[in-house]
Amino acid sequence: MAAMTMIQALRSAMDVMLERDPNVVIYGQDVGYFGGVFRCTEGLQAKYGRTRVFDAPISEGGIVGSAIGMAAYGLRPVVEMQFADYFYPAYDQIVSEAARLRHRSAGDFTAPITIRMPTGGGIYGGQTHSQSPEALFTHVCGLRTVIPSNPYDAKGLLIASIECDDPVIFFEPKRLYNGPFDGHHDRPMVPWSERPSSEVPQGHYTVPLESAAVFRAGSEVTVLTYGSMVYVSEAAAKESGIDAEIIDLRSLWPLDLPTVIESVKKTRRCVIVHEATRTSGFGAELTALVQERCFYHLEAPIERVTGWDTPYPHALEWQYFPGPARVAAAMRRALEE
């Protein structure tokens, strides 16, 4: 075991899989010699050679389209979108091709590819380096959408994603790469080494897909969240003194619904927190599911705390970002009823 940042944990996952499976190849913009703009693939080309880990042209459609062809051949490509904000040119290849290939060919061809992309804001990235587009994938049949919140899960979920025979959209909350950011942007960064979840085994292990985690057990209100918002919600609970049960969804779709239902039925109150824009966001699906399954257990309306329905701002980043104060206010509203 060693204390790892999320970046080191992701790199370790790819290292393990390159070593174990000759069909794994890794490519994307700047991921080869340089090791990626966030350094997740640093050193992997030197270790495994240029035909296993390499740079790609600036063409997200080309990166995903070629990965589908490689998967049809029998490889297991892991490709990087430099920022989640950049995946849009690849959407046709993801939605019309990767997601449906198994179904449309009745299993003749499959697309076991993993598409990594740094997601979320909090880095003064403006509207083209801050988006959280997960709902554009959870809406698509045939895709798995995964988002870890800590180094241990990041490695275990990435290995599980690479080994999965379905196409996986793997979101990496970039504000968590170097520490468990809790939304207090004006405070010094806390390093991962202060969290037990930074203890990461060197070798192979998986965190199963479709499995949520109870990040913080509590009795008063259930918070359904994922990615960076796990720590924001934790800070909100601590600062408000509310005994919140925080569920880290980890796999957005397919979802671990039993864990969600069990918690909401226990606390009878539910707050949903995500950084993405609100309307038709993944929170809307969660709201519907909780309403369908837990309506007679609920004591209060379901609350949503999300980014505003605007482009992600630059100067007004912290007015946009759903920080601990907004989450705490929603918890209080849920408790007032």
């Binding site: 000759p22 063409s59 389209g65 998967a71 051949y73 290849q93 091709e97 060919s105 798995r144």
Partner: protein, 411 residues
């Protein structure tokens, strides 16, 4: 300097209903006139080949010039039979569509030489990434039965794709035929990825990508050229220029100012423009490109010049947008008639044999349809079971699909 107001150029074909096409825009080279460079030619030195037209058969059906391929008469007869089979199959399935036994069909009338000759030029294990008009790739093979193809067209109980795809969107991994998508151009970059994978694994198999003139306007086409050149992928990049994308003339895709083959030159890819109705030229150019790919010399782009003699699909009427007799005036003729003329000229075929073969093939097509209809047609509701709609969305069916399957079964 006095300037006139700006004017938007919207290309128009010379021919429209009631107005004959001026086919001089094709710039047809005489048979045998175009040089054949060695396979290790520098891509930049193929510019002349991307702008001329590789042709082998002359007007009398004699093979002339440096592109005459090494292919014996037996194999050429196989090619002729494959074209006859493709044409008969298409004709029969058009009727089946009119009878509502299938919902939709797309024929390849007039362009049969391209897919059939290319199929004969590839090796077992190579992978084609076709569009919806390369049924000739399958019908040239002896390991895919016509009745099984028809089961797909009829979405019946024996449809290997379980009724999930429109007719003609076949998938045959075992025959080197990638699952067809209705989203145009996506397969072009996928083929490059398949070729890259083969190179990564040190394999000897190559990929063959297919696209029409119209869809070359999509980003995936240009991306494919970039990736293919950058990684020197073992792939043949086929552009079937049949002049029409539904009702849109090829000039709307950019075919007026330069050839589609010339797109490759700008990307550093060896490129050829070839008479797609000349079976021998198609075979020769395909072999040349396949040899280059297998020798680690990288991609070759080939623009095949042909004419879409029929409608785009069973959903459009071409007499609404082009002269009804256009094909009869197309300078490159009918690929079946031209190969037949050649085989008769070399004494390897006769009119009587041709008629006999044609009748036999039509009988085989009728027999295949009878066999396929034993498992149902779209008319009789013998379609795949409800559960098959929910299967294969994921490898294992997740909870939400199990739940929805139950709901669908109850409704």
């Amino acid at each position: 300097m006095k300037t006139s107001p700006l004017h938007l150029n919207v290309p128009e074909p010379t021919g429209r209903p009631g107005r004959a096409t001026d086919f001089s825009y094709l710039h047809v080279s005489p048979a045998g006139a175009v040089r054949r460079p060695p396979i290790d030619v520098l891509p930049a030195d193929t510019g002349d080949l991307a702008n001329a037209m590789v042709r082998v058969l002359d007007e009398q059906g004699s093979p002339v010039g440096p592109w005459v391929p090494t292919i014996d008469a037996d194999r050429l007869r196989l090619g002729l039979l494959a074209m006859l089979r493709t044409r008969a199959f298409d004709a029969r399935m058009l009727i089946a569509q009119r009878q509502k036994k299938i919902s939709f069909y797309m024929q390849s009338l007039g362009e049969e030489a391209i897919a059939t000759a290319h199929s004969l030029a590839l090796e077992p294990g190579d992978m084609c990434f076709p569009t919806y008009r390369q049924q000739g790739l399958l019908l040239a093979r002896d390991d895919i039965s016509m009745s099984e193809l028809m089961c797909q067209l009829m979405s019946n109980e024996h449809d290997p794709l379980k009724g999930r795809q429109l007719p003609v969107m076949y998938s045959y991994k075992r025959a080197g035929f990638f699952s067809i998508s209705g989203n145009l151009a996506t397969q072009f970059i996928q083929a490059v990825g398949w070729g890259m994978a083969s190179a990564i694994r040190g394999d000897s198999r190559i990929a063959s990508a297919w696209i029409g003139d119209g869809a070359t306007a999509e980003a995936d086409f240009h991306t494919a050229l970039t990736f293919a050149q950058v990684y020197r992928a073992p792939v043949i990049l086929n552009v079937v220029n049949n002049q029409w994308a539904i009702s849109t003339f090829q000039a709307i895709a950019g075919g007026e100012a330069s050839t589609f083959a010339a797109r490759g030159i700008g990307c550093g890819i060896a490129s050829l423009r070839v008479d797609g109705n000349d079976f021998l030229a198609v075979y020769a150019a395909s072999r040349w490109a396949a040899e280059r790919a297998r020798a680690n010399l990288g991609p070759t782009l080939i623009e095949w010049i042909t004419y879409r003699a029929g409608a785009h699909s069973t959903s459009d009427d071409p007499t609404r947008y082009r002269p009804a007799d256009d094909w009869q005036h197309f300078p490159l003729g009918d690929p079946i008639a031209r190969l037949k003329q050649h085989l008769i000229r070399i004494g390897a075929w006769s009119e009587a044999e041709h008629e006999k073969a044609r009748a036999e093939i039509e009988g085989q097509v009728v027999e295949a349809q009878r066999e396929a209809e034993r498992y149902g047609t779209l008319l009789d509701g013998r379609i795949p079971p409800l559960a098959s709609m929910f299967e294969d969305v994921f490898k294992e069916m997740p909870w939400h699909l199990r739940e929805q399957l139950r709901q669908a079964a109850e409704q």
